[in-house]
């Protein structure tokens, strides 16, 4: 009657190994006239975990929003699954990428099971709809939220909400997942759990972009890290290549030491700190 689904939205097949899921080329984004991102060249491929790191205000979340096609590029272009983001309908995008926002809120007392099931919404009316219940159950099991499936979302703790929001994103089953600080509210065990899920998604052929503050977490789990500084990419590459004392110290404006994990060899990033008792007055 009001013609919402004029174009029959065709669900895509699973991405091929190494396929370019999202590609930013010369991307610039302005928010309220202020340049937030400039000259971003970045490609997200199927099968990798790509982490976005950088100090507060460096543009990590904006870059994630740009990759999600939430904000239009002021310059350059953004391709999702090979086509300019603006050429896809909202639903076609929803088949291809899922987004975890930084803080999840739900306006009404929907239960956890209902919130996770919302992740299946794009697939309504497609063949994949038959899998809805299975996908929801899987996502809830993976994030360990099944135990409180019947509780209203609003009654959960911050960490529980974060995991439910992640379960919703997993239930959407897209080729590309964009996660904004999925570990921020979580304890140590659940942080590791979330990153292990990212790892497994990538190994199953999907692409995961994850904004992280914890550089150690990023170094341990990501295939590539993109370091942002002042809206530009300062470096992109394997964590052991880009997480150097020089670059990180400069980007964060604070000296760091990079050690190797004695067991895995992954970089451990530790801020340089004065010894206790010598703290005050050290730099005059």
């Amino acid at each position: 009657m009001i013609g919402f689904r004029t174009r029959a939205a065709e669900p895509p097949s699973a991405p091929a190994a190494g396929a370019e899921l999202a590609e930013a080329a010369g991307l610039a984004v302005r928010l309220g006239g202020r340049p937030v991102l400039t000259g971003i060249d970045l490609t997200v491929r199927a099968g990798e975990v790509l982490t976005l790191v950088g100090p507060n205000g460096a543009g990590k979340s904006t870059l994630l929003a740009a990759l999600a096609a939430d904000v239009a590029p002021a310059e350059g272009r953004l391709l999702v699954d090979g086509r300019p983001a603006a050429d896809w309908t909202a639903r076609e995008l929803a088949f291809r990428r899922a987004v975890l926002p930084q803080a999840a809120t739900v306006s009404f007392p929907f239960t956890v099971a209902e919130v996770v099931a919302m992740g299946r919404a794009p697939w309504a009316g497609t063949a994949a709809e038959d899998e809805d219940d299975v996908r929801v159950a899987e996502a809830m099991a993976a994030t360990e939220v099944a135990g409180f499936a019947d509780r209203p979302f609003g009654a959960l703790s911050g960490g529980e909400r974060a995991r439910v929001a992640l379960a919703r994103v997993l239930a959407q089953r897209t080729g590309l997942l964009l996660l904004d600080e999925p570990t921020a509210a979580l304890d140590l065990r659940h942080q590791e759990q979330v990153m292990r899920i990212c790892r497994e998604l990538a190994e199953a052929g999907r692409g995961v972009v994850v904004v992280l503050h914890d550089l150690g977490l990023a170094a341990a789990w990501a295939d590539r890290a993109a370091v942002l500084r002042g809206g530009r990419l300062a470096a992109v590459g394997a964590p052991e290549e880009v997480f150097t004392e020089g670059l990180l110290g400069e980007v964060y404006g604070h000296p760091v030491r990079v050690l190797a994990d004695p067991e895995t060899g992954a970089p451990l990033i530790v801020p340089r700190r004065p010894r206790r008792g010598e703290a005050a007055g050290a730099d005059g």
């Binding site: 009657m1 009001i2 926002p101 809805d132 219940d133 099991a141 292990r196």
Partner: protein, 373 residues
């Protein structure tokens, strides 16, 4: 159970056998569908019962059985007509009023549920945020300036246009960064209500005595002037709104996640908003055009239903229409009979009951949020 099994091709090949059966069965159905069926049939039965009682009750009492007989007779399903006076009271006064109460109540209840969904805010209600008084400005202006170039439709059209304008104004004024904060919405409502009140005051100033009594009727809200032509005038608006609304149920559910997450799930949020705001304006304006300002029905009914049946809009929208109709038919029965032979203004009655409820809701929302942000 700690190993994540939901991911990747492996999981696709063999669905997680350890998945909790409870969660799997529940899927997206929320509270049992049996409960919802029970609630729906309860509401329908109560509505029919109260409507019949209302048609039977009044200064000229008609036995309940005779009401049923007469209705069956007119529907050509047997039964038999009443005597001439009875027939006239029932069909020219009582029934148009009952039917109008059903339509107006359904429109208000459904508009409240819709508006709360669109704004993602349980306190949004056409009366609270000023849509009703905005629509009343249109109706009152049409009365005060003696406009009738559109016949029976003049007041409806004026109420609709003014209501729509008010909705858009409130929408633009109360949003920032894709969200509507409770406090902004309520404050915007205060401002809009004040402005609408001033405009109505101006209209009163310019009106003559006969027009002023008509205007007072709008401000207090009443179904006393119900006639079949009025029912027919409001029917298309209410019908279109009520039929279209449930169609958006699932997308409204997604909107509870926020604007961006809803878009990430494939909802064309801007389009949805525009269409639903038009529908809300249609419902509210048609109700206000016929019955004046009747507040809090759209606040109270969806809220109570959410407590019983959960927030899913698939039931909430039609349920609120049913519940709104039930509340208004009951309220009108009380308004007609409580102070016989005088009649209480209907809008005053709903506000008397609704305002304390609104106060309680405010306190509760505030406590849950830990203060207004």
């Amino acid at each position: 159970m700690t190993a994540p099994t939901a991911t990747g091709r492996r999981a696709a090949a063999e669905p997680d056998p350890a998945g909790p059966p409870a969660a799997r069965e529940r899927g997206m159905r929320g509270p049992g569908s049996g409960r919802i069926a029970l609630l729906t049939s309860g509401l329908v039965a109560a509505l029919v019962a109260v409507a019949l009682v209302s048609a039977a009750t009044g200064a000229y009492a008609i036995p309940l059985g005779d009401v049923v007989d007469s209705v069956l007779h007119r529907a050509r399903l047997g039964g038999e007509p009443l005597d001439r006076v009875g027939e006239s009271v029932l069909w020219d006064a009582r029934l148009p009023r009952v039917v109008l109460a059903v339509l107006v109540g359904a429109a208000l209840g459904c508009a409240g549920a819709l508006m709360q969904g669109v704004f993602g805010n349980p306190l949004a209600e056409p009366g609270v945020i000023g849509i009703s008084s905005g629509a009343a400005v249109g109706a009152v202006a049409a009365i005060a300036f003696g406009l009738d170039f559109l016949g029976d439709w003049t007041i409806t059209v004026f109420a609709f246009v003014a209501g729509l304008g008010t909705v858009l104004l409130v929408y633009v004024l109360s949003r920032s960064e894709g969200r509507t904060e409770v406090v902004t919405l309520i404050l915007t409502g205060i401002a809009v209500n004040a402005f609408a009140g001033a405009l109505i005051g101006l209209c009163v100033f310019f009106a003559d005595n006969a027009q002023i009594s008509g205007i007072t009727f709008w401000q207090l809200g009443s179904l006393a002037q119900a006639t079949w032509p009025k029912v027919l005038a409001v029917l298309p608006c209410a019908a279109v709104g009520l039929l279209v609304a449930p169609w958006f149920a699932r997308r409204l559910d997604l909107l509870a996640l926020g604007e961006r997450p809803a878009r990430h799930l494939g909802v064309d949020v801007e389009r949805l908003r525009v269409v639903l705001i038009l529908v809300t304006a249609l419902l509210t304006a048609s109700a206000v055009a016929m019955a004046g300002i009747i507040t809090f029905v759209g606040l109270l009914v969806p809220h109570l239903l959410r407590m019983v049946a959960g927030p899913g809009h698939r039931f909430l929208l039609p349920g609120s229409a049913l519940g709104g109709a039930l509340v208004l038919v009951s309220a009108d029965l009380v308004a007609r009979t409580a102070a016989q032979p005088a009649e209480l203004p209907l809008g005053v009655l709903t506000a008397l009951i609704g305002s304390p409820f609104f106060f309680w809701l405010l306190r509760r929302t505030r406590r849950r949020q830990g203060g207004w942000a």
